[in-house]
């Protein structure tokens, strides 16, 4: 008998505890920046597309839901001609972010991605590309790489000597 009352008392007490559930969607809950939600493509500190179309995210993806095509601008800078993620297949494992050598592809704390039509889960580059640098503010791949692009000639990357003068006889 006493047991029953103890239990009731406990249940009663819970009515005055602070709520754990929130009134979603009216009320949003906090998701840490490292949460693995909707994927975005970021830009480098100069505002250029970060993605260099290296295909590493695509090959890392266990469900193969990333497809892209590389292309080049007239100065040799690589970027994706198209970049597609089929979010109806994505399992938000974050492997693509880990594989990306340029911090271009990042997962964000946004998980509100329901759609009435599955076709709308297919995101193209226009849908993925954001204006900022996302989580990683300073990295600019092309400033480190040896490849010359518009505005950065050979020898102008970080820790590079000026190009060798082939006609010089000096040691």
């Amino acid at each position: 008998m006493a047991n029953i009352f103890t239990t009731l008392w406990r249940v009663f007490r819970h009515a005055f505890r602070p709520r754990v559930t929130v009134q979603y969607p009216e009320q949003k809950f906090y998701l840490p920046p490292r949460w693995r939600g909707r994927i975005i493509l970021s830009r480098d500190p100069d505002g250029e597309e970060r993605c260099v179309a290296c295909y590493l995210c695509a090959v890392a993806c266990p469900v193969d839901c990333i497809a892209l095509q590389a292309t080049e601008d007239e100065h040799g800078r690589r970027y994706p001609e198209f970049f597609r993620i089929n979010f109806s297949r994505c399992i938000f494992c974050g492997f693509c972010e880990e594989a990306c050598p340029t911090y271009a592809i990042q997962l964000t704390p946004d998980m509100e991605m329901s759609e009435y039509r599955r076709q709308d889960m297919v995101y193209e580059k226009e849908d993925l590309l954001i204006e900022g640098t996302g989580k990683y503010r300073d990295y600019n791949y092309y400033r480190v790489a040896g490849l010359a692009i518009g505005g950065k000639d050979k020898g102008e990357a970080e820790r590079e000597q000026a190009p060798v003068d082939l006609r010089s006889l000096l040691p």
Binding site: A58, V59, D64, A67, N86, G146, R159, L166
Partner: protein, 905 residues
């Protein structure tokens, strides 16, 4: 076989090789850079270090370079020795000191030997914190991209380009840390094999420039074993596809044919497959004067059947660029009497003669491998670099063979490349080049003779006579020439493995017969000579074996008898015979059905056009210059209504015939061909049947890491469709299937675990012993007749004499531009010269012609206007025309014609 001990375990290896090769073939992961299976060892990179011990009691040992140490009986080495390991890791770290942070934007990435080796040695973190050395790049033309920062100075590129391929315009410059590999200044690489730098260079310094325009990583390419369609050599290739487009061609090793290399026409000619001139839909031409319009596949078939049904007979025009199966299908549709080969009468005669000569030769035609190993070569009349490029490379290589044989006496190992070159100095073995004009082989030839085709015949006959053939000796030869004849005859006689290479390029049947005379004379003197002919196209020999009349005959039949319909198979007739002759055949009142993959003048004329598949979209068999039948496999599924020609033809067959010919699959039509014409039965041994499975699986055309499977098509439809079914081969259009190594004749890629680059090959080859029964290297279709049956060819043309107002026009060939399909590729088109007429400068002077002046030629009712060019190697009274180039109509050469300078208004 000898026994060597690796980490205290005994292994049996073939004698006389170096330790590196032995270790790789035993399946050990021993890193290396400068060694190359075709260019052998120089010991430059110090990457292949192992520890060698004197005997089992030696515990100290010493570090040696595996590639420079012979695998002799009882050799004891350790690969896993900590000191050897540390040494290798140190070498890699030093090589990587200046290496740029480029992998993500480097086209080599994913198939980079440097990546593989870095991983293999465990060098994963850069300790070097100082500034890196940088280099400027050069523009090397439309084929190869240059990114010098990535160089590790292994010297493979110069060794290939200069030593192996004979290029002069590429070298190593500067010194110590600054060595630079490139040209003296920017400019197009002149060598016809420059594309191999892409595969030879173990890093991303040289990459494929055509691939860069539509770049995809190796793991993303759908690939299948294929055969090059751009000349009669029939090199083995691996084309790669992504998103429905052909992206590139890579070499596929076949010891007998192309070995490790391809020519640039073969490597870069592929882009015609993606070109805007491709026909993708069945077309119908409503009115004679309007262009054909898409008509729908079923409607077009119905229409064609209605057209063909009432015809008593239909003329079928085959093609030397279509597969055997496609030609056979047409042969079946129209019947043997109405099948024509679709090439000029002259080409038919030349091809037939050459095939006859091969039949009556004592020896099977030499493969490229045989030519390479020959110790005396005579080239008769053929500009091989331009008509059969890889054959030229083999001939070039053969000039080292005799000298290499001699170095055995000096106790130099055959793989010790640097030592051999020092021992040889500039000495080269015998190569005699007798051609109408200069060729790129002249620089390695011991003796050169330039003469018009008839003079070449006299030259060849004189050699045969000197080899005691019972024929008349040509009279009036100069003492110098007589001495050369004696010299050639003696050298060929004394050689162990002499080879005579000729071809149809001179347009002289007599030359082909005279070449065979020499082989015959050598044969009766107890030698075993090889006799090879270069043919015009990839399946010229196959079509020749199939038989059928010439295009002119078809035209004649068409004039006399109003055959109502003509079916043209993958052939642009306007490239074959002059237009006026074609009028009776290609007539608006006649129903012309064309089956082709490229839009051209013939398809413009056609009433109905069916979109056939290019080599990349079809299965088929091609017969190369040796008579070797080789199978190629479908790489991608043709877009829209594209399908193989033989499938279209089957749909055109009357219902009752369709039942008789079970061509549902490729195996069906092959079996039918082998049964109908038993001479072709060996083609059944060129590939496994479609039902073959390896451990119950088909072979996957896609790599295990193929990406994007669930996203590629989702822009159109988010639902995924199953992969296309392949009923024609044991390969599948999927990543699900057998992924491990299979023999190269059916291998979609060359890959071994940890070896992603083309350098996987030495590892790859040896892993395959267990699947040997699936190794198909091609089958010869040329059944040899006993030599007694054919006598010597005795005729002697008169010696060439200049005519006062006429010039003897001969053909000059071009590797880039003279072939119908490759010229449609932008990179090749870029290097195609404008059509020209070449003259000796003195002749040009006489006509008042400067370089590039316009000159008018009248040949057989046609008038051509060409730019003039000087060519010092042409005899006076001879003019060369760049045949086959866009803008040059079909010509029957050699022929005499008048030349006139065009005075511009």
């Amino acid at each position: 076989m000898t026994t060597i001990y690796i980490d205290n375990r005994p292994y049996e290896v073939a004698e006389g090789q170096n330790l590196l090769r032995a270790c790789l073939s035993l399946g050990f992961n021993l890193p290396y850079f400068c060694w190359h299976p075709a260019m052998h060892s120089v010991g430059a990179c110090r990457q292949c270090a192992v520890k060698q011990f004197k005997d089992e009691n030696d515990t100290k040992g010493r570090i040696v370079m595996a590639c420079m140490t012979p695998a002799s009986e009882g050799t004891r080495i350790s690969i896993d020795d900590p000191e050897a390991k540390a040494f290798r890791a140190g070498v890699i770290e030093l090589l990587m000191v200046n290496h740029p942070h480029d992998c993500p934007v480097c086209d080599e990435g994913g198939e980079c030997h440097l990546q593989d080796m870095t991983l293999m040695t465990g060098h994963t973190y850069r300790r070097y914190r100082f500034a890196k050395r940088t280099h400027r790049n050069q523009d090397l033309g439309p084929f190869v991209t240059h990114e010098m920062n990535r160089c590790i100075a292994c010297y493979r590129c110069v060794r290939f380009y200069r030593d192996y391929a004979g290029g002069r315009d590429f070298d190593v410059f500067q010194w110590h840390n600054n060595v630079y590999f490139g040209r003296q200044s920017d400019g197009v690489l002149e060598n016809e094999f420059s594309g191999n730098l892409v595969e030879v260079c173990p890093t991303g310094v040289f990459t494929d420039k055509t691939l860069a325009r539509h770049y995809a990583r190796k793991w993303d390419l759908q690939t299948a074993p294929s055969i090059c369609v751009h000349c009669s050599v029939g090199c083995n290739t691996i084309p790669g596809e992504r998103y429905g487009k052909l992206r590139r061609i890579r070499n596929r090793y076949n010891r007998e044919v192309n070995g490790y290399f391809l020519c640039d026409r073969g490597r870069y000619g592929y882009e015609f497959v993606n070109g805007p001139q491709r026909i993708r839909r069945a077309m119908f031409c409503y009115q004679p004067e309007t262009a054909a319009e898409p008509f729908g596949r079923l409607a077009a078939i119905e229409r064609a059947r209605v057209l063909l049904e009432p015809c008593q007979h239909v003329l079928g025009i085959g093609s030397p660029r279509a597969s055997l199966e496609a030609n056979f299908a047409l042969w079946t549709l129209v019947g043997p009497d109405n099948f024509y080969r679709g090439v000029s009468a002259k080409e038919c005669r030349l091809t037939d003669t050459a095939i006859d000569m091969m039949r009556s030769s004592d020896m099977p035609a030499p493969s490229l491998h045989d030519v390479e190993r020959s110790d005396a070569v005579l080239v008769l009349g053929e500009d091989l670099t331009n008509t059969a490029p890889m054959l030229a490379l083999a001939v070039r290589h053969s000039t080292l063979q005799r000298e290499i044989d001699l170095t055995e006496k000096l106790h130099i190992h055959w793989w010790d490349d640097a030592a051999i070159r020092v021992a040889l100095q500039q000495r080269r073995g015998p190569l005699f080049v007798a051609t109408p004009a200069e060729t790129k082989l002249d620089d390695v030839a011991t003796h050169i003779y330039h003469g018009v085709p008839d003079d070449l015949v006299r030259f060849a006959q004189a050699i045969a006579e000197a080899l005691t053939a019972p024929i008349r000796r040509p009279e009036g030869m100069s003492p110098d020439l007589t001495a050369l004849v004696e010299k050639v005859a003696e050298t060929l006689y004394l050689a162990q493995r002499p080879v005579i290479v000729s071809g149809v390029g001179c347009g002289s049947e007599e030359l082909i017969r005279a070449a065979a005379n020499i082989a015959k004379a050598l044969g009766s003197a107890g030698r075993r000579p090889g006799l090879a002919f270069a043919f015009p196209e990839c399946n010229s020999v196959g079509l020749g074996l199939l038989g059928g009349g010439s295009l002119e005959e078809a035209c004649r039949v068409a004039t006399t008898d109003r055959a109502a319909a003509v079916v043209v198979l993958e052939n642009n007739l306007f490239r074959r015979v002059p237009e006026p002759q074609l009028r009776s055949l290609v007539d608006r009142s006649r129903h012309l059905i064309a089956i082709d993959h490229e839009e051209n003048e013939t398809t413009d004329f056609a009433e109905i056009v069916f979109p056939s598949a290019s080599f990349a979209e079809s299965d088929g068999t091609l017969v190369n210059y040796e008579g070797r039948a080789q199978r190629f496999f479908r790489v991608l599924v043709g877009a829209e209504e594209t399908q193989e020609s033989w499938r279209w033809i089957w749909e055109l067959l009357p219902k009752e015939q369709q039942a008789a010919h079970a061509w549902e699959s490729f195996d069906g039509i092959q079996a039918d061909l082998a049964q109908t014409m038993p001479a072709f039965a060996p083609i059944l041994q060129t590939s496994p049947r479609a039902v073959v499975r390896i451990v119950g699986q088909k072979i996957a055309r896609q790599h295990a890491r193929f990406s994007g499977r669930t996203a590629i098509h989702t822009d159109q439809d988010v639902r995924e469709t199953p992969p296309p079914v392949d009923r024609d081969s044991p390969l599948t259009f999927s990543m699900e299937g057998y992924q491990r190594m299979v023999p190269l004749s059916i291998a979609p890629r060359q890959w071994a675990p940890g070896w992603n680059s083309p350098q996987a090959l030495p590892r790859f080859q040896e892993e395959l012993r267990s699947l040997q029964e699936l190794d198909y290297r091609g089958q010869t279709l040329i059944a040899r007749l006993p030599s007694e049956e054919s006598g010597y060819f005795a005729s002697l043309p008169p010696a060439f004499e200049r005519r006062p107002d006429e010039w003897l026009l001969i053909s000059l060939y071009h590797i880039f531009g003279a072939e119908e399909l490759s010229v449609l590729a932008p990179a090749i088109a870029q290097l195609t010269p404008p059509p020209y007429l070449a003259l000796h400068p003195d002749d040009a002077d006489e006509l008042g012609l400067d370089q590039d002046d316009e000159v008018e030629v009248k040949i057989g009712g046609q008038t051509l206007r060409l730019a003039s060019r000087w060519n010092l190697s042409l005899a006076r009274g001879v003019a060369g025309i760049s045949v086959g180039l866009p803008g040059v109509p079909p010509l029957e050469l050699p022929v005499w014609a008048g030349l006139k300078r065009v005075v511009s208004a």
